[in-house]
């Protein structure tokens, strides 16, 4: 007999030889493994963009053109109905667009058409979350207070200048109209940093304010610090 078609047993999986299973539901675990934003453990991916707020007299930056992009993974643990804690592991790209003032001296006094300091870091953040209001299995309204530490694995100083044609340097000898210079692994950048942040949001959207407590530049240079406050928006991927 050719009856070895489809064997159903609670002990063994379903071998399928001849028929096509269109729908198969095991109900024994129904309502037992509920996942979601308001469960004991919740993972999510996030993206953030933001601007640099504030300025310093010795090193003026263009706030509109300075900012950051971040992406990371967040793990949240629900401890009480209104309180959670968690951590984030992420990557950030931060850049400062330096205004070209006559008295500029950081990182040097040369003036350029464009000048930027760029930083790439990986970071670890921890946060405490207070949820407000009764909610179901949603993130809901929340306020986060947390701290972070980061490691700058890449830093660079970038300049861009138009090459002016002159008698001593005719175009045909230059073969270019723009000169871009990038200096990497900057000696004057501290590799590690830390700071605090606050975040307020509803469900998948949040506003984040970060305050960098550590200096970006090594102390021995005795330079003015770059702005310490970043303000941004954060979007979490629904899952």
């Amino acid at each position: 007999m050719k009856f070895s078609i489809l064997i159903i047993s609670l002990l063994i999986s379903i071998p399928l030889y001849g028929q096509k299973i269109l729908l198969d539901k095991d109900v024994t675990k129904a309502y037992q493994n509920i996942k979601g934003p308001n469960t004991k453990s919740f993972k999510q991916l996030y993206f953030g963009v933001g601007m640099v707020a504030g300025n310093t007299p010795d090193l003026q930056i263009n706030n509109i053109k300075s900012g950051y992009f971040s992406v990371g993974f967040r793990q949240k643990f629900k401890i009480l109905s209104f309180y959670s804690a968690g951590f984030e592991i992420g990557y950030s790209a931060l850049h400062f667009n330096i205004k070209q003032a006559e008295d500029k001296y950081i990182p040097n006094s040369e003036l350029h058409d464009k000048e930027k300091l760029r930083f790439h870091d990986c970071n670890l953040q921890i946060f405490n979350r207070i949820n407000i209001g009764k909610r179901g299995n949603v993130i809901g309204r929340f306020i986060d207070i947390g701290g972070y530490t980061d490691y700058f694995f890449s830093s660079s100083h970038y300049t861009k200048d138009k090459i002016e044609e002159s008698a001593s340097l005719p175009r045909q000898d230059v073969f270019a109209r723009v000169q871009v210079v990038k200096n990497s692994r900057l000696d004057y950048v501290r590799p590690f940093g830390y700071g605090v942040f606050g975040r307020a949001g509803i469900n998948w959207f949040a506003v984040k304010v970060t305050y960098r407590m550590s200096d970006l530049f090594e102390k021995k240079y005795d330079w003015s610090e770059l702005p310490r406050v970043y303000v941004g928006l954060e979007l979490t991927l629904p899952n």
Partner: protein
């Protein structure tokens, strides 16, 4: 130190953050429950519509119950003094909704006549629409005919059954076009839209808002160019707008206010395409008791109204299970069927309830042709399965005017194409008009068990033609435990005569195996 620009950035961020939390310092909406009712004088003949009186008399129900009595006016005055305004009154729940701050709520909780408070919940419309508006192509016309044809529209038509005399209340987000669309000409011409009320705007005009309600109504009673879009083209209607435009979220209070309004105005059936899920609840709350709408739906059923509610569209989402009030025993919960395959459509939410009771009850096509504001569209959602079943139930009520709501409920279940087979994706399947007019029981020779040692084989005889049509070859089976709860269920496309093999080991002891194929259900107890 900060530049003007930087200050602006911070101000913007702070204001955005503040906007996120605007409701925090402001007032939130709460239900306030009272300990007792007020004026005991109640004249049902002035309060109720004549149809509501008729329903109560027909079903042997009292004309006035505790739940029908008005709220105590003194309590309302006190609350009005504290909060400024009463938003909704519910006689059934003996409660009102008010907006209150935390401080106001604390004071209200201390009032001697207040026995409880609860935040007002939000609902989600259980539909999503992939509009393909325009003139009907052949495939759309085919679907339009099949959406009622699958339930036996032709048979009802032959017997002149069209839901006449049955009053249906439709709760939805708005009914634009119902006052102008040619699909509803017959309703307007014969004055069968009895009453309308917009519970969002507190006015009678419901012909604004989202057109979801128009589409739902068309699946109950619309007629396109002589073709029925739903089965209850002869019924009369109460139209209630309970959802807010644009958001597709509604407040629970509108549903509660609408259900009392429907009762007062003589509704025999309530068609509701709302489901309350993750915004306020967890899946474990889907037990038919926790939510306020569940309680209200229960009261409606006790007052003789057949409440028909969509299961929800979360079958392929994280939530997966049904929403409330589809979790209520006395609510007929409707699942979605894919018209192309004739079994569960992927997005239709699954049962059982959180306390493992059987849901859904019934199913219908969840992809249909429906009337938009001025055109027709192909749309999806269990929102549209629900009105198809509502139309069917209205026809059953018309044929059995002496039956109560729960008797009609049972008849509709018994008429379904899978009955007595059942599972948590399809319920008892798609109701069939043929059940009421001819014998449609399957031929037991279509399927049988064969026992060889410890093995049970399920066999379709060789003489049965297993053609290439998937929907004809669908074989359903489930395993039920000793508590009556299904542990596993499947749908198989059977294209060989030897379909299934079960090892009758100890694990299966006391379990019941049911198998359904082409109208025949066979049962084996291990």
């Amino acid at each position: 130190m900060f530049s003007v620009l930087s200050k602006n950035v911070i101000v913007l961020a702070v204001s955005l953050a503040f906007q996120c939390f605007v409701p925090l310092p402001a007032q939130e909406k709460y239900w306030i429950f009272f300990c007792d009712k007020g004026d005991r004088v109640f004249d049902p003949f002035t309060y109720f519509d004549v149809k509501a009186i008729e329903r109560r008399q027909r079903l042997g129900l009292p004309l006035g119950e505790e739940t029908d009595l008005p709220l105590k006016s003194e309590y309302l005055k006190v609350l009005e003094k504290h909060t400024g305004r009463i938003y909704t009154e519910s006689r059934w729940l003996n409660a009102v909704t008010v907006k209150a701050s935390d401080q106001q709520l604390a004071i209200i909780r201390e009032l001697p006549f207040v026995i409880g408070t609860l935040p007002v919940a939000h609902a989600e419309s259980v539909s999503f629409c992939s509009y393909q508006a325009g003139e009907l192509s052949d495939d759309k016309l085919d679907l339009l005919i099949r959406q009622t044809g699958r339930m036996g529209a032709e048979i009802f038509g032959e017997h002149g059954v069209d839901g006449r005399g049955v009053r249906i209340a439709v709760f939805d987000g708005g009914f634009p076009g119902v006052d102008t669309h040619p699909c509803f000409d017959h309703l307007r011409r014969e004055g069968r839209i009895i009453k309308t009320y917009d519970f969002v705007k507190n006015r009678e005009d419901v012909y604004k808002g989202i057109n979801h309600g128009s589409m739902v109504l068309s699946c109950i009673a619309g007629i396109y160019d002589g073709t029925k879009m739903g089965l209850a083209t002869g019924s009369e209607f109460l139209l209630a707008r309970t959802e807010r435009r644009g958001e597709l979220y509604s407040e629970e209070e509108n549903w509660l206010a609408a259900v009392e309004w429907a009762d007062k105005n003589g509704a025999d059936i309530i068609n509701s395409s709302l489901g309350y899920t993750y915004h306020r609840y967890f899946p474990v709350d889907m037990d038919g008791r926790t939510s306020l709408v569940a309680r209200a739906a229960n009261i409606a059923a006790k007052k003789g109204i057949l409440v028909i509610n969509a299961m929800g569209n979360d079958g392929d989402k994280l939530w997966e299970y049904l929403g409330t009030p589809a979790d209520v025993d006395s609510v007929m919960s409707v699942a979605g069927i894919n018209p192309e395959t004739d079994y569960h459509i992927s997005f239709s939410s699954y049962g059982p309830t959180a306390d493992m009771r059987r849901k859904p009850n019934i199913a219908a096509y969840a992809e249909v042709i429906a009337a938009k504001k001025s055109k027709l569209a192909r749309v999806q959602g269990t929102s549209f399965s629900t009105p198809l079943v509502t139309g069917f139930a209205a026809c059953v009520m018309q044929m059995n005017p002496g039956l109560g709501n729960m008797e009609v409920f049972n008849l509709v279940e018994h008429s379904a194409h899978l009955f007595p087979y059942y599972d948590y994706a399809h319920g008892y399947g798609i109701p069939q008009a043929a059940y009421f007019f001819k014998d449609i029981t399957g031929d037991s020779r279509d399927l049988f068990f064969e026992f060889v040692d410890d093995t049970i084989f399920i066999v379709i005889p060789e003489e049965i033609n297993l053609n290439d049509s998937n929907s004809d070859n669908l074989l359903f089976f489930h395993l039920e435990n000793e508590k009556g709860v299904l542990e596993r269920y499947s749908v198989v496309n059977a294209y060989q005569h030897d379909v299934l093999k079960f090892l009758a080991n100890g694990i299966l002891d006391d379990k019941i195996l049911r198998v359904h194929f082409r109208g025949t259900t066979i049962i084996h107890k291990f």
